[in-house]
């Protein structure tokens, strides 16, 4: 990663999962904290205490959640310590991967969905 004060060079990170090199800054000026290609993240922030985490494990996306007022968020789980984190879906994330994750519960429903047709 390049020096943050050097504005001529864009700082990038390499995805812990698919090794894609992605710029930290997004087009709309925000900060990215998951890979746009595979949605994986890295456990650098401790969710319980709020400080930096010593785990640094890879975080896999497990669900797409929608708060009552707000846009889609992706829920991550750390593969090392099982901690959960929540992160907003960005404009340039891979839309097919996001959509696959959103409708994944419907692929294996725990009850027959035909019963809802009569409601």
């Amino acid at each position: 990663m390049s020096h943050p004060r050097n504005t001529l060079r864009t700082s990038t990170f390499s995805c812990t999962w698919c090794r894609v090199s992605v710029p930290v800054a997004t087009a709309d000026g925000g900060q990215r904290n998951h890979c746009p290609a595979c949605l994986h993240s890295r456990h650098v922030l401790d969710q319980v205490t709020g400080g930096p985490s010593t785990c640094l494990g890879a975080m896999s996306p497990i669900a797409i959640a929608v708060p009552r007022a707000g846009d889609w968020t992706v829920v991550h789980r750390c593969v090392r310590c099982d901690e959960l984190a929540c992160d907003a879906v960005r404009e340039d994330d891979n839309q097919l991967v996001v959509m696959r994750m959103a409708v994944r519960p419907l692929a294996q429903p725990p009850f027959p969905l035909e019963a809802f047709g009569t409601l």
Partner: protein
């Protein structure tokens, strides 16, 4: 004749317990609780799981565990609302909860008597807003 049932007299009244965890009493109906969201009285015994940790009617939970499920170490005790549904690799659904008081996330296995309509509404919540789906699937 003096009042004998005045609330200030005698033994102090015990605060009524609302929550997912019963006070430390064993025996019959030890795991029963009243839901923090819809006030439903829920029996502790649940089909398909040993420990019930959310209301089967409105899927609301209570923030009592910190890192390990069942450790009862959280001091927050806030209400946790269901945020979404996640699927384990073996196909089992998990409900993702978020604490309304401190914002922490947690996952719970679904239970055999959970409200199927509430679960399906939760799973379909990303598709509720058609503008997002149209942008995702139809553009580009």
């Amino acid at each position: 004749m003096p009042r004998r049932n005045h609330p200030s007299r005698g033994a102090p009244r015990r605060r009524r317990y609302d929550g997912a965890v019963p006070p430390g009493r064993g025996g019959h109906r030890a795991g029963d609780f009243r839901c923090a969201g819809c006030r439903l009285d829920v029996p502790g015994a649940a089909p398909g799981t040993a420990h019930r940790n959310h209301c089967p009617h409105c899927l609301t939970s209570l923030h009592v565990d910190r890192r390990v499920p069942g450790d009862r170490a959280a001091t927050c005790r806030g209400r946790m609302e269901a945020l979404g549904v996640s699927v384990r690799p073996d196909g089992e659904w998990m409900i993702v909860h978020r604490c309304l008081s401190c914002g922490e996330l947690g996952t719970n296995r679904i239970c055999g008597d959970d409200n199927a309509l509430a679960l399906l509404r939760l799973a379909l919540r990303p598709l509720r807003d058609a503008s997002v789906t149209r942008r995702v699937l139809l553009t580009r």
